[in-house]
């Protein structure tokens, strides 16, 4: 436990400068935009120069860039992400309201991809070169090349429009009045297609990694020893080969967190899910720079947290990790 704590503390401390760079970099990137949130506000709702002036003063937009960066960093330290002009609400509230939908979507997609990816990977890797291996390898490669948003459209065309098995859009039936288990079931039905569209590419990735890892482990001496001992093939595959090939997949889980968060932007737009990713698209459409800024900062924090959790899981699975670094 002590080891895990040291690891966590070290990772949290080292992520502070990283987060600082993200904030400064994003701030100056969005600074390059022509026009600010007040311009966007006036375009949609109208107003004169006097109103623009007073709005800019109210939101601090009349000050210099450095002064505003300082103000922003200060309010960020107090967990205040500012105010969205487009939505007329505090940005943090907006993000916290949308985040659970995205976390459900991503969490389910990762769970689905990890489970089926390792399962099929074990089938393929159990006998490298077999017919099952070839079929799965070709299938996963094809799946790996499919753009998620297009897959989403095709899935919704087949399973929602033609077969009517699943709903086409949204996260739950609006104003259905469902509660408890019925509501959970309703949300699950809405999530099947988006989760598949988002997760299939990772399923293919995990399958390919698992298979490649197992092919590597098969060549090692301890597998030969297990065979020489006369262990059943099933036991060798599961206990010796698959087990040792599983560890790199855990690392991949953390590495893919950022890409998956990016992928949810498109998937949520395809399936009209009111989530965090769709909020990013809406922020761009409404030219709401502070909102976009908040979204990027929160997503960076999210990715850092996921990676920390993955590191802790890895240290728990592999006792060698982190034990030698306690002094540093």
């Amino acid at each position: 436990m002590n080891r895990a704590w040291l690891l966590a503390r070290r990772r949290i401390l080292s992520s502070i400068p990283v987060l600082l760079i993200v904030v400064i970099g994003t701030f100056f990137l969005l600074e390059m935009a022509s026009g600010d949130a007040v311009d966007a506000y006036l375009v949609t709702l109208g107003g004169d120069a006097g109103l623009a002036q007073s709005l800019r003063e109210r939101y601090g937009l009349d000050q210099s860039a450095l002064a505003r960066l300082w103000l922003y960093a200060g309010s960020l330290a107090r967990l205040d992400l500012g105010f969205s002009v487009a939505f007329n609400r505090p940005i943090l509230d907006l993000i916290l309201e949308r985040l659970p939908n995205t976390l459900w979507l991503m969490g389910s997609a990762i769970a689905m991809a990890f489970t089926f990816g390792t399962l099929f990977g074990i089938v393929a890797g159990a006998r490298p070169g077999s017919a099952a291996d070839r079929a799965l390898s070709i299938g996963s490669l094809a799946l790996y090349a499919v753009p998620s948003f297009w897959l989403g459209l095709v899935l919704s065309l087949v399973f929602a429009v033609q077969l009517r098995w699943f709903p086409t859009a949204g996260i739950e039936t609006i104003a259905s009045g469902k509660t408890g288990f019925a509501r959970a079931l309703d949300i699950a039905r809405h999530l099947v297609l988006p989760v598949s569209a988002l997760g299939f590419i990772y399923l293919a990735l995990f399958l390919r990694m698992m298979r490649a890892g197992m092919a590597e482990v098969w060549r090692q001496d301890f597998v030969l020893a297990a065979r020489a001992k006369g262990l059943a093939r099933r036991r060798i595959v599961l206990r010796h080969v698959a087990r040792n090939a599983l560890l790199p997949l855990v690392t991949m889980l953390g590495l893919q967190a950022a890409t998956m968060l990016g992928g949810s932007v498109v998937i949520e737009s395809v399936f009209a899910i009111p989530g965090f990713g769709r909020l990013a698209h809406e922020a761009v459409a409404a030219r709401d720079a502070p909102l976009l800024m908040g979204i990027i900062v929160v997503s960076a924090v999210l990715v850092i947290v996921v990676n920390l959790l993955v590191d802790l899981a890895y240290a728990w699975l592999d006792p060698r990790v982190g034990s030698g670094e306690a002094s540093s």
């Binding site: 992520s15 400068p17 990283v18 987060l19 760079i21 993200v22 970099g25 994003t26 990137l29 969005l30 390059m32 935009a33 490669l141 094809a142 790996y144 090349a145 499919v146 753009p147 998620s148 948003f149 297009w150 459209l153 095709v154 919704s156 065309l157 429009v161 950022a258 890409t259 968060l261 990016g262 992928g263 932007v265 498109v266 737009s269 990013a280 698209h281 761009v284 030219r287 976009l292 979204i295 990027i296 997503s299 960076a300 990715v303 850092i304 990676n307």
Partner: protein, 277 residues
Amino acid sequence: MRRFALRFLRSPEGMVGLVLLACLVAMALLAPFVFPRDPLSIVGRPLIAPFTDASLPLGTDRLGRDVLAGLMHGARASLLVGVFAALVAVAVGTVVGTVAGFAGGLIDEALMRVVDAFQVVPAFLLALAFVSVTGPSLPVIVFAVALGAWTGPARLARAEVLSIRERDYVAAARAIGMHPAEIAFKEVLPNALPPVLALVSVIVASAVLIEAALSFLNLGDPNIVTWGSMIAEGRNVLRTAPFLSIVPGFGLVLTVLGVYLFGEGLVEAMAHRRGRQ
């Protein structure tokens, strides 16, 4: 080199990839000759079904634009963005990685924190923000995609440089009084490059997908036709004319597949050569 080419051609992955990519490049190059008109111009009645009109083999979209012309011209945008984004990403990444690995100390620490920062922000979100700030045009999209892709080459180049800089020929270059910058870029960088090049296929593939996703969200260059924008346009009539969204998607799948297979063939041929040395 000839043996390398032969080995590449003998691997089934490399061969299939090469054929797919050759078809795409041919499509992209021939597009302006086969369809000299702007693919965004209206050529006929809207929503002509495919295979019904001999002069418009794949029919027309919702605005009466030739689908086949769009498909061929769309290959240009995908390939251009894929290739140039990968070039920029590898160039920037290798230089940053070489500087970090060769300089060491505080410079290394600072540069790697910047790499970390770029890695914790989702590449697609970064591209989205960049395009929304600077306005959608092809060069901007190339740069936006490269922005999220240079960190991989940077990390790999740094790791290579760390091992190369301890070698004897680098010490020899120091001994004859070469400037450190000259050693870094003339002696070390060229030798750190080959492993980085193995990343190129992955970068090209993800660049093609990011460009498609951006134009699907209407953030692509509005003056050229891209597969992503064709899919988005077809989405409006998904129930009545699903063909319009499905066909350009196959273009994307085959492009990405071709790039992956080509890359895998190259890596395999390279692995053979290394094994022999």
